[in-house]
Symmetry: C2
Subunit: 342 residues, 2 copies
DNA sequence: TTGTAGGCGTTATCAG
DNA sequence: CTGATAACGCCTACAA
């Protein structure tokens, strides 16, 4: 169980009759080292199987090469794609990705932030837990200058680096799509309103109705805590039981929308004729459910990739960059669940 | 961008008029330190906001607190659940999880193993890339005593630590289930046969046929490279075009099975009456497709959890443990896609 | 262009 | 039970 230490820069230095610092510098292409020396050092390094001890380097620099990624649940299509993108970008730049999940609990989130802090990650990508409404626990990072990039579920009133989609525009487009299909009474499944993403989606929905001179009816605007399948079913049941049920639903996620389709079908409601439905996220489920679910597609992997790139950029631009918000585009993906016209 | 170093054990030592070693030991509950001292040290540590510099500790010990997890694709239900379990177990024990994905390419796998090696992970959990048939790239870990645990897609001829499901039994049960439903001519969608999991599933399938005195017909045993939706469709198309098509399919994954349902339905084939289908993995898709897909369920998150626990155990049992194989149980989850009888 | 020396914060060894 | 001391391997002023 003893780990052989391996070749160090001292070994190389001794063998080449130069000093360790020269070796160190040569290995990093330091400009003030002679071409010949660099070449010699590198060749010997390869020959002797030298590998950088990144722990020692980290200690010296008080910084690891690890980027922390903190999400709610890894095993969700949107999140795992996001992580996938982040991992690719990090690895391409020679960084590792550390992950942890909050399970949508604020307490877990705090613990994990702390753990990342203690393990000295050199940057942090965060998508907030559903519960999270205060953000003090990120302060220690912000204070000590470690880059933090928020993704998707962000603290909207804080002046921090963000990578998001245009939720308002996306919701507007989705709602408009239903309207274009002839829907007049559109229900909405929303999420917890302290989360900006759901607030924005609600706003986009309302604005679209208004832009089309459609009335707003609060009785068909429903909110789930987690927008789970279970909640989706209950909300659908409620809607279908109304004296004046809606002719369509814009759901803020696909899980609830799929659930709506399943329940509606079981109740003998035809989709999309009696009830048109569009979801959000374009999860793989959309193409499996019958009829296929229309949805709003957004570039999950790109969000992860860009978040990591932001971190690297902030690090390299040592002087402060002003925190900026990067907003990515979305697209309505129309499928049979909402297509009434051809 | 300068990271304030923060409180060290020296600061605590000075303030308490003890030596740094005493502080270090107290913080770790070293048995030979007085109760009173321990208490005093810990209180002051909290008061001063001391946090362990794990980088320094790592340097000293030549070991990080990071466990590498190497998988094919993060964004697949089975894998992301596995990672989720691994992350939970690791975090509970105070370890971090580093992830990387091979995208099912051997070259990537090699690169990532190397990166993990260089970053000095203290253990490695691996599910092999589809391509992988040789395993030299893991030798450096095995040689230097870093625990490596293989999960699910394992190198079956190597004497290493493994966490797997009983693929043979699972396939036998799935096939038997179809037989119990009255199926007589059962096709099989298999994966690359150099992977033990697919070889075992094929074997279980064959053994079940034999145990029931059903003939074996190689023309309805098909193999996909990745068992993608696309391959599933092509294989189904092929089967349905046979002069003597099968009355059922046992697919080695759900993706291909779902695809089979979709294609069969579009071709006017009734499920399960004309064609009964069972998949493997019990992905979320199973409950979305219509009819719901029967499948073989296995504890993905547990596999991740157990793999991490194995690593920790191997580390603590410094003297060698003999590599063992942990085999987890599976269950046939019968749904409408295969239920012909009630 | 290269070398010297000190320190990053901890832990292990050895001595009291 | 506690202390002194020496690494762990690298980086970076500062000096030459």
């Amino acid at each position: 169980m003893k780990q052989k230490t391996g070749v160090t820069i001292y070994d190389l230095a001794t063998e080449l009759n130069v000093s360790p610092s020269t070796v160190s510098r040569a290995l990093q292409n330091h400009p003030s080292i002679g071409k010949a020396t660099i070449k010699a050092v590198k060749e010997l390094a390869v020959k002797r199987g030298y590998r950088l001890n990144s722990i020692a380097a980290s200690l010296r620099k008080q910084q690891t090469n690890n980027i922390g990624v903190l999400v709610s649940w890894i095993n969700r299509p949107f999140i795992s794609s996001l992580i996938s993108g982040a991992e690719e970008a990090a690895r391409a730049a020679g960084f590792n990705v550390l992950i942890s999940q909050s399970h949508d609990s604020l307490d877990n989130e705090k613990d994990n932030v702390k753990a990342f802090f203690e393990s000295r990650v050199c940057g942090l990508v965060v998508s907030l837990a559903m519960e999270t409404q205060d953000f003090e626990h990120f302060n220690r990072f912000l204070e000590n200058g470690t880059p933090v990039v928020f993704v998707d579920r962000i603290p909207d009133h804080l002046d921090v680096q963000k990578v998001i989609i245009d939720n308002h525009a996306a919701a507007f487009k989705a709602t408009q799509h239903l309207i274009d299909q002839g829907c007049k009474r559109i229900a909405h499944f929303g999420g917890a309103l302290h989360q900006a993403i759901y607030r924005e989606r609600l706003r986009g929905y309302k604005d679209a109705l208004q832009a089309n001179n459609l009335p707003l009816d609060d009785t068909i605007i429903l909110h789930g805590d987690l927008l789970s399948a279970d909640e989706g079913q209950k909300m659908t049941e409620f809607l279908l039981g109304l004296p004046n049920p809606p002719d369509s639903i814009f759901s803020a996620n696909d899980t609830a929308a799929v659930s709506a389709i399943q329940f509606a079908k079981s109740a003998g409601v035809r989709i999309p004729e009696d009830l048109a439905i569009i979801g959000f996220n374009n999860d793989p489920l959309c193409m499996i459910i019958d009829p296929p679910l229309s949805s709003v597609g957004h570039p999950a992997a790109d969000m992860g990739r860009i978040a990591v790139q932001q971190i690297l950029q902030i690090k390299s631009a040592e002087g402060k960059l002003v925190p900026q918000t990067i907003m990515l585009n979305t697209a309505v993906i129309a499928r049979a669940s909402s297509l009434r016209k051809t």
